[in-house]
């Protein structure tokens, strides 16, 4: 009984990664078939309601897990104040921060352990926040809402940061000077238009955003929109590529002749 269960579990774990990463292999890579276990899972899902239910539970549980991690720390705020609540939230998500006026950064290590020294500075606002590669999302911004002197925010490689998140950054429009949103897989051009509110922004890093289709044009438009901001945008392929449509047009014309 347990052997088929572990068998299924292993398939779920690997395919869940694919489902969560959400790369539609059916449309993008027609030539290469997906790996065998993905095809097997798809076959089973189309034939058995149980497999379909289990897979949808899997993705729902993952989403719920992310939402729980980003929940509002109201208890901490009520007893220790909003600055400590923000600090505790950042450390719980394995991020790092620096208080205003303090030179050291407080970070959690890879296992999630951190020192409790940050509790000594109860009324100091937070100036720099580093949430790279965490599951920080829109709901998590509730915890950062009161920080009026936030100067730098680094969101490098955050998988849950999307356009709505960028639109909500308007609450830091007076103080935010440096923003790093490189390698975030969910940001599109519509979200970059939301950065218009951050008039005090001095440095913006938007390298390697996979969902921007015309990076060169977007960078130019952003530079026009934020004239005082220095924009870093590496990791894009700006070379001129011949489109497939042009090839077909050429062949069509030749055929007509």
């Amino acid at each position: 009984m347990s052997a088929p269960l572990t068998f299924l579990q292993r398939y779920f774990r690997r395919s869940a990664l694919l489902l969560v990463a959400r790369r539609p292999w059916s449309s993008s890579s027609q030539s290469s078939l997906p790996p065998f276990h993905t095809r097997l899972l798809l076959y089973l899902t189309q034939r058995f309601y149980d497999v379909e239910m289990l897979l949808s539970w899997r993705s729902k549980l993952k989403r719920r897990g992310v939402q729980k991690k980003n929940a509002y720390y109201s208890y901490t705020e009520r007893f220790y104040g909003s600055n400590l609540a923000t600090a505790y939230f950042i450390l719980n998500l394995k991020g790092g921060f620096r208080y205003a006026g303090q030179p050291d950064w407080f970070r959690a290590d890879r296992k999630g352990r951190f020192s409790w020294d940050f509790m000594n500075h109860k009324d100091t606002p937070i100036e720099d926040v580093d949430m790279s590669y965490t599951v920080f999302n829109y709901t998590g911004l509730n915890n950062l809402e009161g920080q009026q002197s936030l100067r730098t925010l680094s969101l490098r490689g955050c998988p849950e940061v999307d356009d709505w998140f960028l639109a909500r950054l308007h609450m830091f429009q007076d103080s935010l000077e440096e923003l790093d949103i490189s390698h975030c897989p969910r940001i599109t051009t519509g979200g970059l238009a939301a950065l218009r509110n951050l008039k005090g922004l001095k440095r913006l890093d938007m390298s390697s955003l996979p969902r921007i289709s015309t990076p060169g044009l977007v960078i130019i438009l952003l530079e026009e929109m934020l004239p005082q901001c220095k924009i870093t945008a590496t990791g894009y392929d700006h070379s001129l590529r011949e489109e497939g449509g042009e090839e077909e047009q050429k062949n069509h014309l030749q055929g007509q002749r």
């Binding site: 489902l19 449309s27 960028l166 308007h170």
Partner: protein, 506 residues
């Protein structure tokens, strides 16, 4: 199945053998062989026929086994089912939103049978796909603000709601650019009152003075602007076709039946009661909906318990089939559904020197609006005409003079860069215009016991559709509004003749 494949493979091999044997004759022998020996060609045809006959046999065997959809009667597969629990008239974004929420809230899986009837599967005249696709919270009625906020919440978590397993996630292409309303001296006080209502309801809006406006958007001409209201969050525009298809895909995956046909009639029973004044009042209950197939005389009467009227611009016609509005003038039955189609134009213009990525959806106090479209210097512009100059609604032809006379001067006045622009394209669409007070009608009609209305939104149906769908589903399944109280948007205000006008300056 594999046995059949093996048989086919062996047949093909045998055929190949025979052919190869035939193709190795001595040159010169050919014609002699062909003219005299008929056996070889017959054998070839025999094998081809054998393959066709075997596949026909396989198909017959498959149909005979249980689980196939073969039946001795020749039925039209496009007809809707004979019975359904809820029939949604209208397959636009509102209809599919109601269908999705009904299925979402049913407590027993498969407990509700919902049929959505749409007369035009190409959506050529549907208001949903022809709309500019904007969403804003800058209204004056708190109900409208709450509806927009709830719909924005829905769209933010759209993949949580409308995600289908093993299908691509939904990408609405939402541009988070915000709305900008400009007010002249005369209406600045209305804008300030609206601002406090919006802030109280939870919308993130900010007021800008002309100096701040010029500082933020240097390309605007702020000569006669007294005050500006700018949305900071949850406002922008998106792709309505994607939203419609997302609702439809998810609803169909949950078991909603889609039907392409037109609702031409209702069969209802009448319960005549007397009111205190001694007049007779007819209470009607719909028993079945007659759905006519397109381009055909075939129809199917669908027996149903509840009908939802989400027919948009054509809801007045649907309501008229039930006799709403055809009673004596001073009675409840004499008040027709005040929704009629109104034609509105949208023009696509190209201006290379126009405002850049931060262009909001700008609405001038003269009623002219425009927004950015894409990244190539294209903009979409439109305006609502005066009451007296409403265009003809029998077709969707575009009047280009309207742009030249009414829209371009205002646009050029507001943004000097728009003096040099070129109209590249234009289209027209219908508003489901509520002639009474231009706000939606959500709820039951007092004289029809089982018809729910979700129509009359006059240009802001698309942005309210997720929240209105949820509200109608709550009305039907829970008996009353649960998350948002929209009782003021019901039929009561029309019967009491108390309009709830939107005091927004446009």
């Amino acid at each position: 199945m594999s046995t059949w494949r093996r048989l086919r493979a062996s047949l093909r091999a045998a055929e190949g053998l025979i052919r190869s044997r035939r193709q190795a004759p001595i040159p010169g022998h050919e014609t002699w062989c062909r003219s005299l020996s008929t056996g070889g060609s017959l054998r070839n045809d025999f094998f081809k026929d054998l393959e066709a006959q075997l596949s026909a046999m396989r198909k017959k065997a498959r149909d005979a086994l249980p689980g196939s959809s073969w039946s001795p009667l020749e039925l039209n597969p496009n007809l809707p089912p004979e019975r359904a629990d809820i029939v949604v008239v209208g397959g636009g974004v509102m209809g599919w939103s109601v269908a999705y929420w009904l299925k979402q809230k049913e407590r027993i899986p498969g407990g509700l049978k919902v049929v959505v009837v749409e007369k035009d599967p190409m959506y050529s005249q549907a208001s949903t796909v022809l709309s500019a696709g904007g969403i804003r919270q800058q209204f004056s009625l708190p109900e409208n603000i709450h509806l927009s906020l709830a719909s924005a919440d829905f769209m933010r978590n759209i993949n949580e709601h409308l995600d289908v397993l093993n299908e691509e996630p939904v990408d609405l292409q939402f541009n988070q650019s915000g709305y900008l309303f400009l007010a002249s001296e005369k209406v600045a006080h209305i804008m300030e009152e609206n601002y406090s209502t919006q802030r109280q309801a939870g919308a993130k809006v900010s007021l800008l003075s002309p100096a701040q406006l010029k500082d933020r958007f240097p390309w605007i001409n702020t000569d006669d602007v007294a005050l500006a209201s700018y949305g900071l969050e949850n406002e922008g525009w998106f792709d309505p076709w994607t939203l419609l298809n997302a609702f439809r895909r998810k609803a169909m995956s949950m078991g909603v039946i889609q039907c392409c046909g037109e609702v031409t009639d209702f069969k209802y029973t009448v319960n005549v009661m007397t009111n205190l004044a001694g007049d007779h009042v007819d209470f009607r209950r719909i028993k079945s909906v007659r759905v006519q197939m397109p381009n055909s005389l075939e129809y199917q009467p669908v027996e149903c318990a509840i009908v939802v009227n989400a027919a948009g611009a054509f809801s007045g016609k649907v309501a008229g089939m039930l006799g709403i509005g055809s009673g004596p003038k001073d009675s409840l039955a004499g008040i027709a559904l005040p929704v009629e189609p109104r034609k509105r134009f949208i023009y696509v213009v190209h201006c290379p020197d126009g405002p850049g990525l931060d262009t909001p959806f700008l609405i001038d106090y003269s009623g002219v609006y425009f927004r950015r479209e894409g990244l190539g210097g294209n903009y979409i512009a439109g305006a609502s005409p005066e009451e007296a100059e409403e265009p003809d609604v029998s077709n969707l032809e575009v009047d280009h003079q309207f742009f030249e006379e009414k829209i371009w001067p205002s646009m050029a006045h507001r943004v000097p860069a728009f003096e040099k622009l070129k109209v590249t394209s234009a289209w027209a669409g219908f508003y489901d215009y509520n002639t009474f007070d231009q706000n939606g009608i959500i709820g039951m009609h007092p004289l029809i016991n089982n018809m729910y209305f979700a129509t009359g939104f006059s240009g802001h149906g698309l942005q309210h559709s997720p929240a209105v769908g949820r509200a109608v589903a709550e009305l039907i399944l829970d008996g009353n509004f649960k998350t948002l109280d929209l009782s003021r948007l019901g039929f009561g205000r029309i019967l009491a003749q108390e309009p709830m006008m939107e005091r927004n300056i446009v």
